[in-house]
């Protein structure tokens, strides 16, 4: 129907200006160099000089920022450890989230709805606050060590460590893993399991041969929904990690706010985006398929 196109025109234009256009700016700026000015980068496009301005602008763009980043071992380490944290986090989330989602789907309609609300509430609760809660728990004098001391164990110094970052990632993203998997399991036709059992499967076999393969779209959605933002996570490594916890999101933040090196921050963003392009495209295709 043609008449729907005008409906989309406003949001389409909005997203072009506020979402697509800014990415060109990020890419452009990553090819500029930092200067002590406001804004702190050069060259600046001067169209008042006409074509000469444009040519001069293009001439001054270069890949110096990228070569500088590639030469610095810290950036490479940050890149690798971002992927490592995200991978470990996703694996643990699957191990915890799948049994939880499956368990929820086994309850009766009324209890299921209650459990669903119970998982959604933390999902809606402030991310920052939920991470903050862990600081009090993982503190050297915090609640975890108080409990451990009561059993004459510890003390564990977890705050500002990689373990704390992993705990934080798993905690913050658990609802994002549980909800997509639960959505798929909840829709699954129970008679499929009965049919599998009728054809000779034990309940366990029926799970592995029918339920689990059918829940793949949910697992894929959950894993992508957790992995992608975790690679670029800033708050968790910043609040729970130590100064040695390197992650790209935190690097970008530091370059931007502390060092005021905008081209470097943009180059990090471009690298981050390039790395995540494939998983993001997968996620989009998956979402579009579910919704259409």
């Amino acid at each position: 129907m043609k008449r729907s196109w005008p409906a989309g025109a406003a949001p389409f234009a909005w997203l072009l200006v506020f979402f697509a256009l800014p990415f060109f700016l990020v890419a452009k700026l990553s090819l500029s160099h930092a200067v002590l000015a406001i804004p702190p980068y050069a060259p600046r496009l001067d169209l008042s000089r006409g074509a000469a301005g444009l040519i001069g602008f293009v001439r001054e763009l270069n890949f110096a920022t990228y070569t500088r980043l590639a030469a610095d071992r810290l950036y490479l380490l940050a890149y690798l450890s971002s992927l490592k944290f995200a991978a470990i986090g996703t694996a643990i989330l699957l191990a915890i989230g799948y049994p939880m989602a499956y368990g929820m789907s086994r309850y009766g309609a009324f209890a299921r709805q209650t459990l669903l609300i119970a998982v959604i509430v933390p999902f809606w609760t402030s991310f920052l606050i939920r991470i903050y809660a862990w600081i009090a728990i993982l503190n050297p004098t915090g609640l975890l060590n108080q409990v451990l001391a009561a059993f004459h164990l510890g003390p564990l110094n977890l705050l500002n460590s990689q373990t704390a970052v992993i705990i934080g990632l798993v905690y913050a993203y658990l609802p994002f893993m549980v909800l997509p998997i639960y959505a798929v399991l909840d829709r699954q036709d129970e008679s499929l399991i009965e049919a599998a059992q009728d054809l000779g499967c034990t309940p366990t076999q029926a799970f592995w041969r029918v339920t689990f393969p059918l829940s793949w779209p949910g697992v894929a959605a959950g894993a992508l929904l957790c992995f992608i933002p975790m690679v670029g996570e800033f708050v968790i490594p910043d609040l729970l990690g130590g100064s040695d916890t390197l992650m790209l999101g935190r690097t970008l933040w530091t370059e931007f706010f502390a060092d005021r090196d905008w081209p470097a921050a943009c180059a990090v963003a471009v690298v981050l985006l390039g790395t995540l392009a494939v998983p993001i495209a997968l996620f989009q295709r998956q979402q579009a398929k579910v919704l259409s």
């Binding site: 129907m1 008449r3 729907s4 196109w5 989309g8 025109a9 949001p11 389409f12 909005w14 997203l15 200006v17 506020f18 800014p22 990415f23 700016l25 990020v26 700026l29 049994p99 499956y102 368990g103 309850y107 309609a109 009324f110 709805q113 209650t114 669903l116 609300i117 119970a118 509430v121 933390p122 809606w124 402030s126 991310f127 606050i129 903050y132 809660a133 862990w134 009090a136 915090g142 609640l143 108080q146 905690y171 609802p175 549980v178 129970e190 992508l224 992608i228 933002p229 670029g232 996570e233 609040l239 999101g249 970008l252 706010f257 981050l272 995540l276 996620f283 989009q284 579009a288 919704l291």
Partner: protein, 262 residues
Amino acid sequence: MRSGPSAFNRISVCLGLGFLYAPIVLLVVYSFNASRLVTVWGGFSIRWYAAVLEDSQILDAIWVTLRVGLISATVATGLGILAAVALARSGKFRGRTLFSAMIYAPLAMPEVILGLSLLLLFVAMGIPRGFWTVTLSHATVTLCYATVVIQARLARFDISLEEAARDLGCPPLSAFLKVTLPNIAPAVAAAWMLAFTLSLDDLVIASFTSGPGATTLPMRLYSQIRLGVNPEINAVSTLLIAVVSAGVVAAGLIQRRRLKSA
């Protein structure tokens, strides 16, 4: 009929929920701690709540956050309805792939990238950073979430209802307003709630796109948390959790009652 939960199922669910709720419960409990030391119980007190009410910085931040949330969620929901209609109703149109890519990409994109890119846009356009730049940024990001929620509902909506309205004499727009909109209203409300909560919650995008005089609550909390654990933060957090949970639980109960009566 579903087979009931096994012992393993029950344990998985209980441990999972315990993990999700224990830190929140502790945070809430310690907001009532009389002691300044967050990890030592010094008796029940509401002194930190009183302190919050006298902290003008926090109160200002709450006021900014609420205004940003109300405006951005409303804009995002309005645009989200239009975007969802375009995606759900029109088959192929030029730019559809780009359009749906722009809708889904921000859902998973790291916030630091969104924040940085929006900031560069405002700098390039010469817009001074402040209240309106945060609001615009939040509207942009939450627009995508709102669209997905509304589109999911529209996909299930029986198009012949709208056709029936047109057949009975409604022009297309009036058919949409009189029949479709009332029927997808719960999804529209859910989309608004989601957009509002995301805006309320956001630290990273706001940090990039905000300027002087427009410090949001998460930005204020973040700078205090960096200074160390502080019972006043617990009190603010508890208030925030209470408001959001009340909203979610109320919405959930309404839905559950509908489920029961159906």
